[in-house]
């Protein structure tokens, strides 16, 4: 509509030049380049945000890094009273909980993606897709409350206690499946994390599976392959890289998830192989202690933890993106 109005006015006389004139406060030429530079500026702002993350966290972490040096990463004491800070307990807790989450979430997410794209009756596909989206839309803090008040007690009674008893006399496993059966701890955090990252992995996997060319699948079925054989021999090999990307994307979420973990991990700054024991992740340590950090070295150490989390998640998410971009290009 606007275009037509404009071209009716003086378009013929100014055929060679610009007839742009609707923003009256500026002539067309100036508006045109202002708009362009505003766009470029906003786009560069994205880079500024990323740079700002890195610079501000490094500056904030500097007192701690210069005091403890690189050994901050592998020191296992975290003691605000003696002002000794090392990141190892938090790093270990982050890796253990994210590891548990990935081990549980990946097969479930894969199963759901296969079910929605291959097996489910047509009428069920859309509602299932919405259910998965809903799972992704629930705020983290609600997973935390549900985990603490509803999941943890049931988990303690029906899973933790029997499992601890079952492995009591098995060497090695008795140190892994150990800890107080109180419901909260690293295993609980890992399971709740698994439910939280599952929808992200599943929806990316679903999109990836949809990119498998139909004739590849049909040629599989044509030679008499079963659903499972088509999945295993055609879909999985075709999507391997992108599916790994989806898993890394989920891992990136699990590593930095804060509120749900803070509710249920039990907050203990020690390293243990026992997955039922309370622990801490990088994010939950920051969330718990930052407001109460009165000494500057304490808050600086917490920011150093944040810097570590920034670097780890940046690498994981960048790898995920590279793997996922390969399929779209």
């Amino acid at each position: 509509m606007t275009l037509v109005e404009n071209s009716n006015t003086k378009a013929h006389e100014e055929a060679a030049g610009s007839f742009q004139r609707s923003p009256r406060f500026m002539n067309g030429e100036a508006f045109n380049s202002t708009f362009k530079w505003l766009s470029i500026g906003s786009a560069l702002f994205i880079l500024v945000i990323l740079g700002g993350f890195f610079v501000s966290l490094t500056v904030g972490a500097w007192p701690a890094l210069s005091k403890f040096g690189l050994s901050f990463i592998w020191t296992s004491t975290w003691n605000p009273v003696t002002e000794q800070f090392g990141a190892l307990p938090a790093i270990a807790g982050t890796l253990i909980t994210s590891g548990i989450a990935i081990i549980i979430a990946v097969p479930l997410a894969f199963a759901i993606a296969i079910y929605i794209t291959q097996l489910a009756p047509r009428w069920l596909r859309h509602p299932l897709g919405i259910a998965i989206e809903l799972l992704a839309a629930i705020p983290s803090i609600i997973y935390g409350m549900w985990g603490l008040f509803f999941f943890a007690p049931i988990f303690a009674e029906f899973i933790q206690a029997p499992v601890i008893d079952a492995f009591e006399n098995v060497p090695f496993l008795s140190t892994i499946f150990a800890g107080p059966a109180i419901g909260i701890g690293m295993a609980t955090a890992g399971i709740v994390l698994a439910i939280m990252i599952l929808p992200f992995i599943a929806s990316v996997m679903r999109d990836v599976i949809d990119t498998v060319p139909k004739r590849l699948k049909e040629s599989g079925y044509a030679i008499g392959a079963t659903d499972w054989e088509v999945t295993r021999a055609i879909i999985i090999p075709h999507c391997k890289t992108a599916m790994t990307g989806a898993i890394f994307l989920g891992l990136g979420r699990a590593l930095g998830e804060t509120m749900a973990v803070t509710f249920i991990i039990g907050n203990a700054n020690r390293i243990t192989a026992a997955i039922f024991a309370p622990g801490n992740t990088i994010a939950s340590t920051i969330a718990n202690e930052f407001q109460e950090a009165y000494s500057s070295i304490h808050s600086s150490s917490l920011i150093a933890l944040g810097l570590l989390l920034f670097i780890i998640t940046f690498i994981v998410l960048a790898v995920a993106r590279m793997m996922l971009n390969r399929i779209s290009s």
Binding site: Q20, F31, S140, M145, I195, T226, G256
Partner: protein, 281 residues
């Protein structure tokens, strides 16, 4: 031969059962979480939620100040995130398409999209809260904006990408300038999708707690002063849920239900809007 076929069919059936069981398990979890939220939330639901202030320990009250605070924080954040996100998305699709700079920015934006939100809190703490010496609503909004911008950028770019090039070419052929083409053709054709993106980014930041912990903090009293700490639903839920007072826990559940319903409404609205727009074409 028969044995081979039987084995193949068995493994197919076995995989099928496992896949269906996994799907049922996840849906059951979703139902469990939702029913807990609905039950606990509605038991604590009362009209005074919207009229009374958050109470001190042992007393009953409402969530009025937290609701208003949340609206304020999210509103100011979107006031900033919307233009920046739309313009950046415009650059990626209209100006920079195919350039090295645009693909770098797209890559960084995708990484920011999934970055832990607590880092946004630390970042804003370092550049706003620490220099100014106090927690503030501005800082809270800034942290939320940092999370919302990548969402807006992504959806804007995707939606502009759907606009057929022939429409742009038709406008150029009439002699329209670049900005004119973008404003009157690209934005017009993509406006429904772009609006959806903004709604979705509101849904994304409405429940964010971690970035507000060290920026907006919380406030027990009525306050719309953006220069000091301000009450907001997510942090209020966190603090009340972690406390033993039953009244506080009930309020936390009511707040949790309120936030989830808001997010749900936003996603349904954007879905409906997008679908009705698609049907018009």
């Amino acid at each position: 031969m028969n044995a081979v076929i039987r084995r193949r069919h068995f493994s197919n059936a076995f995989a099928r059962v496992l896949i269906i069981a996994a799907t049922i398990l996840v849906v059951a979890m979703l139902i469990w979480i939702c029913s807990v939220l609905i039950y606990e939330g509605f038991s604590a639901f009362k009209p005074t939620l919207f009229t009374e202030m958050t109470p001190p320990p042992g007393e009953s009250g409402g969530l009025a100040n937290a609701i208003v605070g949340s609206f304020l924080l999210v509103g100011v954040a979107m006031l900033f995130a919307t233009p920046v996100g739309i313009l950046a998305g415009t650059y990626l699709n209209e100006y920079g398409k195919g350039t090295w700079l645009a693909s770098t920015i797209r890559f960084v934006n995708d990484v920011l999209l999934a970055k832990p939100s607590i880092l946004a809190g630390l970042f804003i703490y370092e550049i706003i809260v620490a220099p100014m010496g106090s927690f503030s609503g501005w800082a809270g909004s800034a942290a939320l904006a940092v999370i919302a911008i990548p969402v807006v950028v992504r959806t804007t770019e995707d939606m502009l990408n759907l606009v057929p090039n022939s429409m742009r070419e038709a406008a150029y052929a009439l002699g329209a300038s670049r900005s004119k083409v973008i404003l009157s053709v690209s934005y017009r054709a993509a406006r429904v999708g772009m609006t959806t993106g903004i709604l979705l980014s509101v849904a994304r930041i409405a429940g964010e707690t971690a970035p507000l912990l060290f920026t907006a903090l919380n406030n027990q009293f009525w306050s719309t002063d953006m220069t000091s700490s301000i009450a907001n639903l997510p942090v209020m839920i966190f603090q009340y849920a972690m406390n033993p007072y039953p009244d506080w826990q009930a309020l936390a559940w009511a707040g949790a239900l309120l936030i989830t319903l808001t997010i749900l409404a936003l996603s349904i609205i954007s879905r409906v809007v997008l679908r009705s727009a698609n049907e018009q074409h």
